[in-house]
């Protein structure tokens, strides 16, 4: 990048003004890059074109032009103005320093207090926007940190930054799953082929000339995921991460649905689809206001069966239950309701984060009752174990 910038200097028609412009634009592109914008050399060159095009004095125009050029999604679109003002409008260029290191913002945040309950408190935590796509220090830092974190049990995440990093990874993992599932199916398909029998049959009409070719093609079928997430107190260490995971899955798998339950069941598909992560948190907090203690898995699933199942369960559906199986209701009811689901859906997957612990035995009453109806019983306590889910989803 540096050599190229040097080249630009050389090529430019010369003059101090021109050099200053090149330097200023380069500085700005670097600034937005530091803030996680996906920009490269090409954008830098185009940014210069924009700047030359509209004379630097025309500040509003420069803003609009650079915004279209450098932004790639809504999140960046909304952050752009602030960066632009900070860089171009302040007389003192030192202000930049205040903005760039993201890590500093993180240190100001209080660490996650362990043992916190559920969605409500997670939502209360102050957030400096979605750490989401931005990545703290570009690609280099991210990779190694990710490696360390893949095997960690989610409950050992201590500070806010790790937590947010994990949230981001979890959501991204979910989105990637779809891509890989599709690829797998494409390999199995082996391209388009002529369906000979039908083609010859149709050719009779034209005196034996195969005028109409009939192709056979495997219809691509992705599973429809129905996520039922336990957000009770015993799951509090995990529930927010699973909600992020659910958000990623909803984004990747069309017509999937998500519900949360505790003592009641509430559909949250629309809430999770909300683009702005802070709004998602607010809405979830409102939903879970005033929920009493205890977990009624059986009753919640009963409600699901009565109200939603008929509309959304089908032969493509995989029901994913996320729960530790600690149920204060009747185990018999849970068994009965799971059986009903089993009859309508393709598969029941039960993710129990406790399964990742060495000493865990699925002895809880609810868990015991549920086991006979579960097709896949897996742990989901770390990124690795979540990624392993993919192969389960691939074989419908």
């Amino acid at each position: 990048m540096n050599t190229l910038r040097a080249k630009n200097f050389a090529e430019s028609p010369g003059g101090a003004g021109e050099e200053l412009l090149v330097a200023r634009i380069a500085g700005f592109v670097r600034l937005v890059h530091e803030h996680g914008f996906q920009v490269g050399v090409r954008e830098e060159i185009d940014a210069l074109k924009v700047a030359r095009h509209c004379t630097v004095l025309d500040q509003q125009r420069l803003r609009w032009g650079l915004r279209s050029l450098l932004c790639g999604n809504v999140d960046e679109w909304q952050r752009f103005d602030q960066l632009f003002d900070a860089y171009w409008l302040s007389a003192d260029r030192q202000t930049r320093v205040e903005y760039s290191p993201r890590a500093k913002l993180d240190q100001r945040e209080p660490p996650v207090r362990p043992g916190h309950s559920g969605v409500v408190t997670e939502a209360d935590r102050p957030q400096t926007g979605d750490a989401g796509d931005a990545g703290t220090s570009g690609a280099r830092g991210g990779a190694s940190r990710q490696e360390v974190m893949t095997g960690t049990d989610f409950r050992f995440l201590s500070d806010a930054r790790q937590m947010r990093e994990m949230e981001r990874l979890v959501e991204r993992l979910a989105r990637r799953m779809r891509r890989r599932l599709l690829r797998r199916q494409r390999l199995a398909r082996q391209g388009r082929r002529v369906h000979l029998r039908r083609t010859i049959r149709n050719s009779l009409r034209y005196g034996g000339t195969p005028l109409e070719l009939i192709f056979k093609r495997r219809r691509r079928q992705l599973p429809r995921l129905i996520l039922l997430l336990d957000v009770s107190r015993s799951m509090s260490l995990y529930s927010y991460l699973f909600l992020r995971f659910a958000r990623g899955l909803l984004g990747a798998f069309r017509d999937s649905q998500a519900f949360i339950y505790h003592t009641r069941l509430v559909p949250v598909t629309e809430v999770l689809r909300e683009r702005d992560i802070d709004k998602v948190k607010e809405k979830l907090a409102v939903i879970s206001l005033g929920w009493s203690g205890g977990t009624r898995i059986g009753e919640s699933i009963q409600r699901f069966n009565e109200q939603y199942a008929r509309k959304i369960l089908g032969s493509r559906s995989i029901v994913v239950m996320v729960s530790d199986g600690y149920d204060t209701g009747q185990p018999e009811l849970l068994a009965e309701q799971l059986e009903r689901i089993q009859r309508c859906a393709r598969k029941i997957v039960w993710l129990n984060p406790l399964l990742g612990r060495d000493d865990y035995q699925p002895l809880a009453g609810g868990m015991q009752a549920a086991l006979p109806f579960i097709d896949v019983f897996a742990s989901a306590h770390s990124l690795v174990s979540l990624a392993a889910l993919e192969s389960q989803l691939a074989y419908l």
Binding site: E43, K49, W64, L182, A252
Partner: protein, 292 residues
């Protein structure tokens, strides 16, 4: 700045009311000739941008509607099998060599051009609208990316077809799926938000000039407060226009006259059962009172 205003006026003459910032982006888009990715909620007028541009540039508009399962055959080209087979039949009695016949049936005459191929073989730059790119699969997105960066398409039987002119490419997305970073990087980006009061008023006046100014003002206010409610599907500009047309049909001159009638016309705006339930009569009254 003058050229932006001038461009804004040209857009308006073509039937599209744009903010200055959008006009600036479009001007840049025409200058740089990079594809433009337009995002925003449904009904804010993303597709209309492409139509207006084709009007302003006075060039044809080629539209590629994306959907799940869209493949290269329906987006780029296909051979016209029937004609080819007929041609073979006809040639049977002629004494041409096999090679000659083959060259004949795989000539451009038997090629069905689909939107992408059509767009790059036009003598003058057309506007290519790739609508709802988020509905297409990732594989198609990758293919599109290749076409958009090289502006050439290779057809095994014919060889590589290079673009005769580079089209103005407008992509729209509703964000039902995350687009790849590669595609985002290739494109200029513009996020279209719901219109401001002033803009919506101008749009209504532009499309339904017979409307009284009193009603127009009230409608715009009403729509703004309606969009602030927590709805599943927030009504866009096209819904506003539908509603205004309905109100005019029913001879409504002011929103606060006939509450029952207004409640009936809300079918134009609220398109899901949940939203209908959420906007009760009291809510409507409150919104109307705010608007008047």
């Amino acid at each position: 700045m003058t050229d932006i205003v001038a461009f804004q006026e040209r857009l308006e003459a073509a039937g599209y009311i744009a903010e200055q910032s959008l006009a600036a982006t479009l001007l840049l888009f025409a200058g740089l000739k990079r594809p433009l990715l337009v995002e925003g909620d449904a009904g804010v007028g993303k597709t209309e941008i492409a139509k207006a541009l084709s009007n302003v540039f006075d060039c044809p508009l080629i539209r590629l509607q994306c959907y799940e399962g869209l493949d290269a055959n329906s987006a780029v080209y296909e051979w016209n099998y029937q004609h080819q087979l007929l041609a073979i039949k006809i040639q049977e009695t002629e004494g041409r060599t096999a090679e000659d016949k083959e060259r004949h049936i795989f000539s451009e005459r038997y090629l069905l051009k689909r939107p992408l191929l059509q767009a790059i073989t036009m003598p003058e730059s057309p506007v290519l609208l790739v609508d709802e790119i988020d509905r297409a699969d990732e594989e198609f997105e990758a293919y599109l990316l290749e076409v958009l960066s090289d502006f050439q398409i290779s057809i095994p039987e014919l060889g590589t077809i290079k673009a005769r002119s580079i089209p103005y490419v407008v992509l729209t997305s509703n964000a039902t799926r995350e687009l790849s970073d590669a595609l985002r990087r290739r494109c200029l980006y513009h996020y279209v938000d719901y219109p401001s009061l002033d803009k919506e008023l101008r749009i209504i006046n532009r499309y339904l000039p017979q409307i009284g100014q009193e009603l127009a003002g009230q409608v715009v206010q009403f729509m703004h407060s309606l969009r602030e409610l927590d709805l599943r599907k927030r009504p866009g500009i096209s819904e506003t226009l539908d509603w205004v047309a309905a109100l005019m049909r029913l001879n409504v001159k002011q929103l606060d006259r006939d509450a029952a009638l207004i409640a009936q016309t809300l079918v134009c705006l609220l398109k899901t059962k949940e939203d209908r339930d959420a906007v009760t009569r009291e809510v409507v009254q409150r919104l109307v009172a705010n608007a008047v």
